[in-house]
Symmetry: C2
Subunit: 622 residues, 2 copies
């Protein structure tokens, strides 16, 4: 695993290429999916009745094998060579085309989508697992695959029968690729300022699309014959802002009725960005209608529904952006762990006074263990949070009780901004912590952690910056349905605390979570009052901090549940490797409760300060 020889020889030999550094523990995934969340209960539903635990395990095992053998080997070239642009065309990094074809052939692209249109029909939580597995192996590669199924789902959900017939299966099977086209130079966070227009054409079913878009992931590439752009554009008329927007299907090549490719549409890639990371994922500038002949078709039949339609895809993309943080911090942690087991440096503090004490693997040093446990507890907490959210989507889709379905749906809406922002913020931080475990080696390209860190830095920025998520949580999701879904979530956590307090194994986790939970409740009241009392500006200025509190409490709760499950398994007589595994789960939850959860109260104290110095600050003094 550790590639540089910590060598005895005086002259260093460098190994020429980075071997496969991809690791993920299927045991960990199984624990979360089957022992904690119990996703195998989906077998009782009509929708997912075809799948049992064994099927899921087999599929996950296959995905890990595919990621290890096919995707992970692409990762270093993906970074060092990257996607390149020349004369309107984008060339993906070496090996991408072949790997993409294999992924499509194996059904990975539409795995969590409708079998009616060529998908595998897996639940969303499994889609999430596959995303983690593939994103960790090569983020850029999975990003190129990931949006395609989202566009397929968009068309399946809102398209006309003709649109579904033409596009859905070709997208779910990966024959064509899809993109999500929102951002413009003057319209990023604020889509109301969108200037791209869609003009109806007399006597035709298409519109003419005109405008420039940017930051379009996989907006142009060589992986598929055709690319289907889902484009947000302004319809003519009196309406302004987002209410004027429609969503349009704009194919790169206009398909003939039989699906064969006809003329090239008037959409061109004007360039790609040079970025800090995800070099293998081309971030494109797209110009629509330079020759006034870009044809686009309204998705479905209703105009002005663009934002609402796009939000379905955006919400899925937000969960997957959170997964990018989970996946990268996960592989970064595994690499840090391997390095720490292998790297011999410094004597143990215990043998400090022994003359001639030998240096030990750094995993024995307290500070290294602190960093590893910080990473492990976050990775496992973030993963639990994201999978839990995805599983809520499946619960919503399968619950026989309509109230239960609605409750799951509301909780998913509530958690989506937290998954996106908290997992991406902490994911980046944990990648950087993995660098720190490596010491100076971590800064060198010979180890993958510096690439993971760079690749992870985009996640807090795209799919709505993390502040947009925080404002969404505070401004829209908390007050949703009179605040009922949020109150219910806090009550559920409170009930868990009350119950776990009575169990010796979880009592101190419950105590720490109880304090954090109480602090969160206070901060929530505080902000609700401030917002209602005309201090909305102040509330939003602490929204990011508030979102982090929610994320920490949620992770503390989910890790606490893991400790409970693991304790039960130990009491039920776990044997072999499972003994350490379950002990580890309990200790990980304790570590998080004792080291991370106390920060929640401090953040609540900060919010309570109602500091307004940022507003009093003269602009000139900044």
């Amino acid at each position: 695993m550790v590639r540089r020889r910590h060598c005895e020889a005086r002259v260093f030999k460098y190994l020429p290429a980075m071997p496969n550094t991809y690791f993920i523990s299927q045991r960990d995934l199984d624990f979360l999916l089957f022992e904690q969340l119990g996703i195998q209960t989906l077998a009782n539903s009509e929708k997912f009745g075809d799948f049992g635990q064994e099927d899921y395990s087999m599929i996950i095992g296959e995905a890990i094998r595919f990621a290890t053998e096919v995707i992970a080997p692409l990762n270093q070239d993906s970074d060092r060579i990257g996607a390149t642009f020349s004369d309107g065309e984008v060339t993906t990094p070496p090996g991408f085309i072949e790997a993409y074809a294999k992924a499509a052939e194996n059904g990975w692209i539409g795995a969590a989508h409708s079998p009616e249109f060529g998908g595998m029909g897996l639940p969303m939580v499994l889609g999430c697992v596959l995303n983690e597995i593939f994103l960790g192996a090569c983020t850029s590669f999975q990003l190129n695959m990931g949006l395609t199924s989202g566009v397929g789902h968009l068309i399946e959900s809102f398209g006309t029968d003709e649109q579904k017939a033409m596009y859905a299966e070709r997208l779910f099977t990966g024959q064509w690729a899809g993109t999500m086209v929102l951002t413009e130079p003057g319209a990023g966070s604020h889509l109301a300022d969108c200037r791209t227009t869609a003009t109806p054409v007399e006597g035709e079913d298409h519109f003419l699309i005109s405008g420039g878009k940017m930051f379009i992931s996989a907006g142009e590439h060589d992986l598929t014959d055709n690319i289907v752009h889902a484009v947000l554009a302004k319809l003519p008329g009196e309406r302004t802002g987002t209410k004027a927007l429609g969503l349009f299907i704009v194919p790169k090549y206009l398909p003939n009725a039989d699906g064969s490719l006809g003329d090239r549409n008037d959409v061109v890639c004007a360039g790609i960005e040079h970025k800090m990371g995800i070099h293998g994922s081309p971030t494109c500038v797209l110009n629509f209608g330079e020759n006034d002949s870009c044809k686009g078709w309204l998705l479905g039949t209703e105009p002005y529904k663009g934002m609402r339609q796009m939000f379905q895809m955006m919400n899925e993309a937000r969960i997957m952006t959170g997964m990018q943080g989970v996946a990268l911090s996960g592989v970064a942690y595994q690499n840090a762990l391997c390095f720490a087991r292998d790297r011999v440096q410094g004597i143990s503090i215990k043998s400090m006074r022994e003359p001639g004490a030998k240096s030990v693997p750094i995993i024995e040093h307290g500070d290294v263990r602190r960093m590893l446990m910080t990473q492990k507890s976050h990775v496992e907490g973030l993963r639990a949070l994201a999978y839990y959210a995805a599983f809520l989507a499946d619960t919503e889709a399968t619950a026989t009780d309509p109230d239960a379905a609605a409750a799951a749906g509301a909780r998913l809406q509530l958690l989506t901004p937290v998954v996106k922002a908290f997992c991406s913020d902490k994911g980046f931080e944990m990648c950087s912590e993995a660098i720190q475990v490596h010491g100076g080696y971590g800064f060198c390209g010979e180890y993958p952690v510096e690439q993971y860190t760079r690749d992870a830095r985009i996640a807090p920025l795209y799919e709505g910056t993390n502040y947009i998520q925080a404002a969404d949580l505070l401004g829209r999701k908390l007050p949703m349905a009179g605040g009922a879904p949020y109150r219910q979530l806090l009550e559920d956590i409170g009930a868990w605390v009350a119950n776990a307090a009575g169990n010796e194994a979880t009592a101190d986790i419950a105590a720490a979570l109880g304090k954090a939970h109480g602090a969160l409740g206070m901060a929530t009241m505080d902000l609700m009052q401030a917002s209602a009392g005309g201090q909305l500006e102040f509330s939003l200025s602490v929204a990011t901090r508030y979102l982090h509190m929610v994320g920490e409490v949620l992770c503390g709760w989910l890790l606490g549940q893991q400790a409970e499950v693991a304790t039960a398994a130990l009491e039920a007589g776990a044997t072999g490797d499972d003994v350490d595994f379950y002990k580890g789960k309990v200790l990980t939850a304790k570590f998080f409760a004792r080291n991370v959860l106390p920060m929640v109260r401090a953040k609540a104290a900060v919010i309570k300060n109602h500091d307004t110095s940022i507003f009093e600050m003269p602009d000139a003094a900044l």
Copy 2:
């Protein structure tokens, strides 16, 4: 300043190269140096009697001009082209050679060193200022300049008269360059495992050096005719560990008696690292004595003093590593600020309900202001901390009262690990925050913040990882002289709190700092008791967190002083731009006190938990 046109046109034009993005506020520097620290009082000393405030201001102005015109334009190529290696030779990025020659000609290299050997004779605090100015303009370039004067100082301090005559002036004037050669593949944090040897040669004054070193900054390059390596190597004999080490002068070319260059020495560069950042600073693998003919000369006359001697240079280098965090977070903040003033996106929360409200510059949004104030307060706090530490060196060197000199020296020793670790950790974080202000643009190479972030990531790793600093603080510096210097520092802060509490303008800063100060005192007692009671392992496992507490309290104190100075200036009738400037200083201190200092108490609470889960954790469960 903002380079990409947020354009009206549909087709984007990219500006071809990044213009100068270097900004530093001399007004800010003047405030800290002359209004807060009062470095102009050094004029009363014999050593620095030649310099008054006007001289300092003039020199700083010249340095900013030089940085802006000569150094900053190198920064983008320094990153994109970087230093390259071929066949034992290193080529520095375009323009480095010419700029280096100009810097040497202008006297910048030995500016803070002895005029006897060609330096300018400036105080160390000015050396620190120059470092910030140059590091912010192009980190890699300054790193190549920076070590040279350190080696000169090493030789001036410990060398024989012949060594001083041969090397000191040639280093201080930049004619030759210097390096610091410690690390080996098996000896990074733990130098006791050093395997490079120095073997005396019968009848000769030189030793034969043999061994492989790595991570040597500027170990080979094309900037100077000769490179002087200061090499840590093991002397023969019974001694083991660091007690066996000597420090050796190993020139790349053996100088003749008149200083002209003689034979090439047997030291070769075997390669350079591919790194996450500082691409223009070649990080070299050096092989000494591949042909058994590498000549090295013991520094001075005493053997076995290698570690002690190296620590002089290392301590200076640690302050300068902290400065890297200050400098990069400083320019990153300035860029974020300019972007925020320029970028129009989203309507103001205040006009949320006004139909047709226009989008505003993002500096008006609360969350953006929060990020800017977070950066500003940290940058100014970190800068104050580092300059204060450097000024302690000057105080030690000039105080007429020996007790005052000793106290300043002891406090400098105490603060050195905090400056190194806290400034580098927070510096990186603040660079990343500057990316966040830019939104998706921050991830693109068109803006400099992503480079700053990558360049800043090395600082927590080199010159002793930040854990080494934390262990140094807790294990060596706190107990130093029976704990007296640390007690004195805490008492000084306590006295400031007591005094500031009575002043309306600083009362709430004092209240917040008082709580943090109290929490720090408790945590200190806690850790001292734990260490004494056999729980040293636990103490060291929270050492990093403890160091951050110390850093936060120090910054809170120094920013509080700034608020005090600014309040006095406002009361004394400041006019014009100064009014907002001073108001800004007060508000910045308040922001830090209300938003950052509460975290200190939370960290103390975490330490008090005495969590030992990381030690109970089975290795197999990690």
